[in-house]
Symmetry: C2
Subunit: 321 residues, 2 copies
């Protein structure tokens, strides 16, 4: 949860006057999105989300994110649509930060995941990948192998504070993944952060995807691997093969997976587990006193990583060959 | 800002099914209200606020607060109206906590106070006091003299951590106020926490008052004193007599102030400053590691208290006799 920036009265009035969204009736900071300040804006025309991009989002990446949401929404993907001001611009500045207004999506993210959620997710993810194919912009994934190495080096010395011997284990894992990481798999726009809090449902029907601020260009199957990690483990970290099977089955009903994509899933899942382990470890080691956000537990992803190390093929996830 | 409780999917569905508010389209934790968990609930019928009462609100006080909002709203005061479920009850339980849904108020609280806000506040405060006169319930103010003494005793030993000599200064102030505190002034329902973030405006027109969870039965003029402290000091803590004059003038245009109420204002303002100084000092000394709420600065109210000590009569606030 995070609201970092307080918007002044005059600033908000001047900013919203640039749009054709009617009078602002209410503007409340909402406890969603760890990276940015988000406000639920109620106007005469309905609800909108106003986002101020805080320092963790690189300003040069914003045209990619905004352009992608615009593209996907026009391709029929249920995602926030950037609202353009009268001058046609959707990306502006407010309180000295980049800012945008996007449409409000109905639905709630599931607190308790059941298999039906995973089925809905699989289909939506595949449709996202198909819709992204015609998006012309490219953004390399700065949280892939090279990025993990950078993160690891900034954490290695203190990794033992989390768990004894962790630095050695991570170094070995990184060396393995750097050597084994796939070079040729179908590539395109991926969401790269499709955790349950970024997926809205209305009574088990998926109603929208949000938070495209890690989206990038990478292996499409890597997005599936991220979802396997984020959706298919139970709270006790046992792996639910029914969820994984439904997720992948509904994905494949929309977009075919090649034999090499299927075969790569255990490796991609290891990489994805390492990615979230490293960013959480970094945040855990670099907590600032008085921060309003509690860091997430890195050991959750360490345990997931170890699980995937024991997997030899997609069948062990419950996925048909 | 605070959202303490996460509401489960099934719990929210079962809870909202008890009301005639239509399908829930969205439920987002909002960064308002330090004491409770607040959610902006969007349903087919519009926006509502769902509040879960956390441990700082005593459950036995809730019928007073809910009853008061209901009473005031029916008297025409712009404040949240408790929404009754089909069984007629407005106060229920959710996630093991007392919970209520109230109507959504349009408007925003002012980040930068100007004199027109204070004028609007004065009139609204007087109308609140008049409307409260017919409310039958009574709730003693547990944050008046006896409450200050209890708070002081729990903080005295460590008060010096904030400022050297503070314990002695507070002990003297408490002794003075205990002896001098008025015994006979017009009494009724007061809001008791009417800070700017509890007062909504639409383009300088006051549109509503929220957060009645400190409301109680006390001297009506004490509410004015709280507002003088909360609204009439500039960010540099200089006192703006124009704001105070407008606030009191517009109050008196709705409800007469007696000579004894006017004469008591400096004393009531000292008491009010001490009240917020003590609660902030308590919170500052008892911060919990990992808490999501940054404690407010107690020294702000220490400086306000010292200012009021030098005031001999209401004229020094810019208030006409």
């Amino acid at each position: 949860m995070a609201v970092y920036t307080e918007i002044g009265d005059d600033e908000l009035r001047d900013f919203t006057a640039l749009y054709e969204i009617g009078e602002v009736l209410s503007c409340k900071g909402i406890a969603e999105g760890v990276e940015n300040s988000n406000f639920l804006l109620t106007t005469e025309r309905g609800n909108f989300i106003l986002t101020l991009y805080e320092k963790r989002v690189a300003p040069q990446d914003l045209p990619f994110f905004i352009g992608l949401m615009d593209h996907l929404a026009h391709q029929g993907v249920a995602c926030p649509t950037p609202v353009r001001a009268r001058d046609g611009e959707a990306l502006r500045e407010l309180c000295g930060r980049p800012a945008a207004i996007v449409t409000f999506l109905n639905g709630m993210w599931p607190r308790r995941i059941d298999p039906a959620h995973c089925a809905g997710l699989g289909g939506a993810l595949a449709r996202l990948h198909l819709a992204g194919a015609s998006f012309p912009m490219v953004r390399p994934n700065n949280l892939s192998v090279a990025g993990w190495q950078r993160l690891f080096h900034s954490c290695a010395e203190r990794a033992g504070e989390l768990q004894k011997g962790l630095a050695d284990e991570l170094a070995d894992e990184l060396a393995f993944l750097a050597a084994a990481w796939p070079r040729e798999l179908p590539t395109g726009v991926i969401h790269a952060d499709l955790f349950p809090d970024n997926v809205f449902f209305r009574d088990h029907e998926l109603s929208g995807l949000i938070d495209f601020y890690f989206a990038c260009t990478d292996f499409l199957a890597y997005d599936i691997a991220i979802c396997l990690n984020a959706w298919c483990f139970e709270p006790d970290l046992s792996f639910n093969v029914t969820k994984a099977r439904l997720l992948v089955r509904e994905y494949r009903a929309v977009r075919q997976l090649s034999t090499s994509e299927l075969a790569a899933l255990p490796l991609l899942a290891r990489g994805s587990a390492l990615r979230f382990l490293l960013t959480r470890l970094y945040d855990w080691l670099n907590q600032t006193a008085g921060a309003l956000v509690r860091p997430k537990d890195p050991t959750e992803y360490l345990r997931k990583l170890r699980f995937h190390r024991g997997i030899t093929g997609p069948a062990a996830y419950g996925i048909d060959g």
